[in-house]
Symmetry: C2
Subunit: 496 residues, 2 copies
């Protein structure tokens, strides 16, 4: 398996959360253990905490008893708008990254806190940020990684909520709502499905819960990416489609490699076929990421970018029929927007990750175990070089990397796939521009499993802080989301 | 901790299934692996099978990826009344014992199969019967026992159902109903809660899902036992209450020990204080078991017994004021009914288990990990010697025995405790005479979480085969259960 394939199979890594939110001032209020009953003091802005529950720390293995090891889970609390007598708790189900980053990029929660008298809690996902079960050995081998699963993460959330309810005055009967985006959105939805006694409802933003097995066509993700480019400029996607052939032709000579390295101002000149594969993968990532963060205003999620960045790059990509060199010079202009919008870089680095805040290694492992999301391209319904989904190859690669085998049908077995009709009180929101919407729930399933589609929205635009550049559709979506949350809260109060 | 305490703490072990059903002819049709797609051939009466799913065997660890070990799970299938075009599947969620025994003691399923066009499937619980993940090493230490949990068992059931649906023609869209009694009833209810995409509903018979933490008073179990004796004969429970003091007084001398050994026709004469503790525990077990299997007709569940066995033994126990020796001679008469109804035993053995078909060792381990059911007695609201619930002591004992620590709050955290309102399509049935009804759901929670109480019923009488001696209340209960099952099936067909 080539490096190129490797990158392709892991393209699923680019599932991150977003929304340039309120600045979360990190106050390292404490990092040690709280004595039982004293873990709930709440600071200004928010507090970083680690949790000890009922005198025990969080179990590393909720589902086995051989080892009784524990670890410190970090979570953030903001209580400026919390009301003891009549408050709610908005609980962010942390995903694959440092929780402070998600906290800073989920402005929606901060914006609605006052209206819902809500305490905000951001729970860090085990194995990410500072919640490392085995410290710096957490990633050392498959033995230490064995407890990095969605089920363990959900159990952490359940135990944390129990702890908050037991220790924060007024929290015992406060309704809790799970909120998350992307993988965090899947966790929010799954948490409501598996622990409905812990949360009265869930907002699952841009959560591709159906991007598994054959629940959706494997090509849907890349075809949505392509559509974004089609809509953002005439002949833009055709230009990108043609660029792969141009790269292949030019890179076939030593001369051409030199030219490419210079045209793309690469920090390390291209030398081998594999370097070229890395370049293509780096460009491919860029197109995907641009579609994901195609926000209507200037933002800095994966990279600092202008408003509607896909339109901006498409301005360079209007003529697919240009000569190979002219076409690729235009592609470079696009890359220079994405990877160097600030203009600070003197050269571009194809090994540079555009997702510096995400825990890539952890997500690779998750993709190699539970989170097997089949992806494919055909160059017809999308603007990428054709590549089939090859599970066997993927499985071999996973085994080489981690000594584990993916279980492609497990997520559907455990979380129900498309058969989720028995659950309730989940809002699935999706952006029409977001490639992940292809694996998302975009039609109402019942009157309490609601789909909200934001046609002008990229990856969980609704979770981002309110912005003057927001399109009307996201304002409407947020208003609906608040309405549903209020309903859930109201109903839960009647049941008490 | 004395042997007596040990027994007391584990009295929870006596949670078994029942119902003298149709005889299940065991045909060892195969024990090997089925090639994928060929695991579904169905034999006469029922077949014993082991399952290989999608070319993989069942994972020993559904929740971790470090080890990719598999094992053979046994299950039984009976398809005499199955209809491919319009059938349903009744899925027995096996509990702590050999599955063939449960199959033979769940006549209700056989009785309703024709009416529901149902295929019957009895799935063996991992670590019991022949479904031993590590063969004869399965119980060797805490490392090998690490995968004996309810969550793993539920995941086994999910994977097995998926396998049946994929391999049996006509099964793909057939509605599945989970059925179980006792711990198996808890599993049936929990399975519907956690995997509602796999089963359209669940019948949880005599399932004490609330016998955890402080959800019910710890004394409720023994007070129900006591009430059964109170109702079954005048001064019966008082006689039993007084018998403990009589034993204590008489056993205080060597002479007395001799007398006791002879009066109870014990195979091994009593010598030490601990032997006396074992005797008391053995008697205490007997009273509990008699209450559990207080069926209205002759039956052979835990032991061969006459109809209404509590009434039968109470005939010997009418006068609590008798001298110690006369009182204990009467207690012996009772013991001779319970432990020697057939009259075949020449002496009685206090180490004899009344639950030969149950996997006691496995259940001990489960009680020491997840299934922590607090029990206590006070000698006032019950007829037993007072004993408080002592978690610390229990935990120490578990650690000594298994090198594991119980997690007393886990079951409530993971399955919701009393907050199960969001779930649907579960019938909880309980017998008024069954001590386990104290931890059961005996009032409707919603219009689809239904409680059925059978006042004259002992431990899951409703799951037993129809019998001329059945009281009207169990006939009504079974009729209601069938009605609900038909509703679930009907509704699921409309959704397709």
């Amino acid at each position: 398996m080539s490096m190129e394939d490797y990158d392709f199979l892991f393209k699923i890594v680019l599932i991150g959360n977003a929304g340039v939110g309120k600045t979360c001032l990190v106050r390292r209020f404490t990092q040690g253990l709280f004595p039982p009953g004293q873990g709930a003091t709440i600071g200004v802005d928010f507090m970083i905490k680690t949790v000890e529950i009922n005198g025990e720390k969080v179990k590393i293995d909720h589902f086995g008893f051989e080892q009784d090891l524990t670890f410190l889970q970090r979570y953030l609390v903001a209580d400026q708008h919390w009301r003891k007598d009549n408050g709610s708790i908005l609980f962010y189900t942390g995903n694959e990254g440092d929780i402070t980053w998600f906290c800073n990029n989920t402005g929606f929660m901060w914006d609605v806190a006052e209206e819902l008298n809500a305490m905000l809690v951001f729970a860090e996902h085990r194995y990410y940020g500072e919640s490392l079960p085995f410290g710096n050995k957490s990633y050392s081998d498959s033995k230490h990684l064995n407890y990095l699963t969605s089920e363990q993460a959900l159990a952490d959330f359940a135990k944390l909520i129990q702890h908050l309810k037991e220790t924060i005055p007024g929290a015992q009967n406060a309704p809790v709502i799970a909120i998350g985006g992307s993988y965090g959105g899947m966790l929010a939805a799954w948490f409501r499905m598996k622990y409905p006694h812990m949360v009265v409802g869930a907002l699952a933003a841009s959560a591709p819960i159906w991007q598994f097995e054959d629940l959706v066509p494997c090509g849907i993700f890349y075809s949505i990416v392509t559509n974004d480019f089609k809509k953002s400029g005439p002949l833009c996607s055709e230009s990108i489609l043609n660029s792969w052939g141009a790269i292949n032709r030019i890179s076939s000579t030593v001369e051409g490699l030199k030219w490419l390295s210079s045209a793309f101002r690469l920090c390390s000149p291209l030398k081998t076929k594999q370097d070229v594969a890395v370049l293509k993968s780096w460009l491919s990532d860029m197109w995907v990421n641009l579609a994901m963060v195609n926000y209507p205003y200037k933002a800095d999620f994966l990279q600092p970018l202008p408003a509607w960045p896909v339109q901006v790059v498409c301005k360079f990509l209007k003529n697919p029929k240009l000569s190979d060199k002219l076409l690729l010079q235009n592609v470079f202009q696009a890359a220079n927007i994405y990877y160097n919008y600030t203009g600070a870089a003197s050269c571009l680095n194809t090994s540079q990750s555009a997702t510096r805040n995400l825990g890539l290694t952890g997500w690779y492992y998750q993709a190699c175990t539970e989170m097997v999301m089949p992806m494919c391209t055909d160059g017809v319904n999308d603007m990428f070089e054709p590549r089939k989904w090859n599970f066997q190859e993927f499985s071999e690669e996973c085994f080489k990397l981690w000594k584990v085998r993916p279980r492609p049908s497990w997520i559907v077995s455990v979380y129900g796939g498309k058969n989720i009709i028995s659950h309730s009180n989940i809002v699935f929101s999706n952006g029409g521009l977001d490639p992940w919407s292809g694996g998302g729930v975009t039609r109402n399933i019942t009157d309490s499993l609601i789909a909200i589609v934001i046609p002008e929205g990229a990856h969980h635009l609704d979770l981002r802080a309110s912005n003057p550049g927001d399109p009307k559709s996201v304002l409407q979506a947020r208003a609906m989301e608040v309405q549903y949350m209020k309903q859930w809260i109201e109903k839960s109060r009647h049941k008490l």
